[in-house]
Symmetry: C2
Subunit: 485 residues, 2 copies
Amino acid sequence: MTDPTTATQPAPDAAALTALLQSELAPALSDGALALDADVVAAHSADTALFCPAEGAVALVRARSTEDVQATLRFAHAHHVPVVPQGARTGISGGANAVPGCILLNLAGMDRILEVDAAEQTATVQPGVINQALKDHLREHGLAYPPDPGSVAISSIGGNVATNAGGLCCVKYGVTRDYVRQLKVVLADGSLATLGPRTAKGVAGLDLRGLFIGSEGTLGVVVEVTLRLVPQLAPPLTAVATFPSEAVAAGVVAEFMATGARPSMVEMLDGATLGMLNDYGDFGLDAGAGAMLLVQSDGSGDPASAQREVEEFARIAEEAGALDVGFTDDPADSEAMVATRRLAQPAYEKYAMAHGGGQLLDDICLPRARMAEFFERLAEVRAESGATVAVVAHAGDGNLHPAVFFDAGDPAEVARAERAFEQLMELGLALGGTITGEHGVGYLKREWLARELDPATQAMHRAVKQALDPLGILNPGKMLAALDG
Amino acid sequence: MTDPTTATQPAPDAAALTALLQSELAPALSDGALALDADVVAAHSADTALFCPAEGAVALVRARSTEDVQATLRFAHAHHVPVVPQGARTGISGGANAVPGCILLNLAGMDRILEVDAAEQTATVQPGVINQALKDHLREHGLAYPPDPGSVAISSIGGNVATNAGGLCCVKYGVTRDYVRQLKVVLADGSLATLGPRTAKGVAGLDLRGLFIGSEGTLGVVVEVTLRLVPQLAPPLTAVATFPSEAVAAGVVAEFMATGARPSMVEMLDGATLGMLNDYGDFGLDAGAGAMLLVQSDGSGDPASAQREVEEFARIAEEAGALDVGFTDDPADSEAMVATRRLAQPAYEKYAMAHGGGQLLDDICLPRARMAEFFERLAEVRAESGATVAVVAHAGDGNLHPAVFFDAGDPAEVARAERAFEQLMELGLALGGTITGEHGVGYLKREWLARELDPATQAMHRAVKQALDPLGILNPGKMLAALDG
């Protein structure tokens, strides 16, 4: 890395920066990679978060190669220009949003699958590869990359790494972090580093590979990822159960997981979500129920194990007072149920559009045994705010996504919704959990990160950031911006 | 963390330091925690590594509490005194060895299991808890903590975290890192930080928890660990096969693993190891074979899956020209085979004692498909060095432990053995691997770490170390000492 003292000039003003971009950066990039057109830049200035500023970008670099990324960072480092790395901009915390005077560094065009190594069961990809495209490609090889965030069809592997994305299968198969063998990253000064060996094990040095996973573009830019793969997963058995209340369903999940069960999916939808889904499509869900659980088990390839596991779930559900429990081993029916679950977000959007447009999607993670208590307290938040709050959850992991709906044109309602959103995070912390299980901090939760982390940990964050990005040019104003130290 | 500019006095000389330890540190510690007796200090000055200096410790602190650790670090920070954190001192890279003028900070006495949370399936322990003691305790709860380094009976959880210890089960169940939910650590200035939530998922901030795992005492001192647990593992089926050569056995492992098999153990012993084991005890191993593989499958609880998996292994082994393949589903026989494997190290020590006392145990990790090539090249190293080299391997992970034997009283033989040891690491890097899969860098491989890491990654290591330990008092001269940047 460059000694920061060698790069001391202040950031240039907008006109001077534009001239420098054209004269210095453009010739160093692939043809056409630099865009200065205000409409093009504006069209790339935000992810899908609400209430997050996204103004002031000066340029867009559509990187085509590692060299483009290095040239961009070298330029930014030399001229003290903020850089916001971006993938598919499907995030929901504002992490990819523009900041004033920044270059948007978009990696979506670096979308090649470079190698599938069947012997080592790894894939090496560029960061812009879409998660689902990788899954589809691997199927030909009989291999699988399990992490499956809700955005699986549209989010990129680089973005998944930057946010340590999770998903539905995490309860058995883990998160993005569990599948990263090696990263190539471009650092703040444009230098290229290879982090981690590609081997199954390795303890040579500090775990900087892990440090970059989930760092949301604040430490460097991922330009290549080697992922650990697994054999294609076995088709699961699926159980669906409805319950009189969210708290009862949550208690069933905690009890089921405490048996040591290894289900491959434990999703929860509350009554409000069931109603919104029925409004969105003809799914015939029991919107009179307080909650529904969707449980899958693949028995790690053994159908009899899967059968025993879903039966154990059914027994616990029935003893707890389930309204209804059903099974299917038909893959088409199973996939249809999961597809319905995945439509919760579009159903929320339809509901929001019909009710003033506002939706804030939260993402707390709790010890599983505290989920029932969360739902009891949620009733108070609903009553106090007057807001509609619908919940979907990766319940087997204790990872809850309450969505708060509001009329975006009514400032009082916006304020009540924001307060409800915050109360849910307070509740997450009070119940021994975290303010974000998988969506990340971005801009949206930067103040909340400072609530979650103790003073010594905040100081460590600042010190590590200062060490790796001494000029503070990498995604400033986001994840780490509100920490003390 | 304290601003380093507030602590600027140089380290005191030995006499002054002893006086300060007695007047300032002793009153801040639990009664009797501070030892200054030279014999006591010397007895705690080394782990089990060869060729690593261990001189010059001034004091030993036997910490009884987090407060003892904080007091020690505050004192060390104020007076610029090096601190070497230690667990059970079972390491083999010199990571726990004394450095001149240091305080040895021993955590072995902090050995309480604080909590087992059956609902969340976690255990919270102090760092001095012995790995096997935790396993035994968890059995009562029907739970398991899988990581099982060779030192499982004698090494501590804190040491396992500091080195990211592996073991025999890693091939299916992963390494220490995969089981750490939350760490409490004392930083260089004595402040206490909690890293990571205890929940199944969490992305709030940088992964400092992960950064501390495997950091070998260079960033802070672990004082509490919350571990993820799993249900007790199912009893495995065991297959044993012998082969005419190491390369053939290695090829069988690579082919077996490439099928997507999920064995719970794939251990390899070469012919030299088989001979040394027969010399050590009455095991009746076929020392005429070039190599033996010991494969277990637990079928994730399904005996039929386990049966299919070991049969698949047997088929591949026989097609490759195995000398003999046998099975057992008798737990006692299985345990006896694994116990024999675990005696390789004592057998090596007996052999070494009878042949001049010297043994250097290496620890490279390769892509599995390159192992056969490694063994072909190993023949050249053996011929060139004239040294006996025996190999045990966690072969399913590509993690090889070649032991080089030599007459410690013959300088020429020592030099040849050291050269062979280095050639094996060179070979590890040349074949796309790493210089250490699980033993760590410590003092022994600090120069080699600089060979493995690229310049930008070395600079990042130095920058992170400087950020978190600005005075450089934490385990100096070890893992990070030879890096540029």
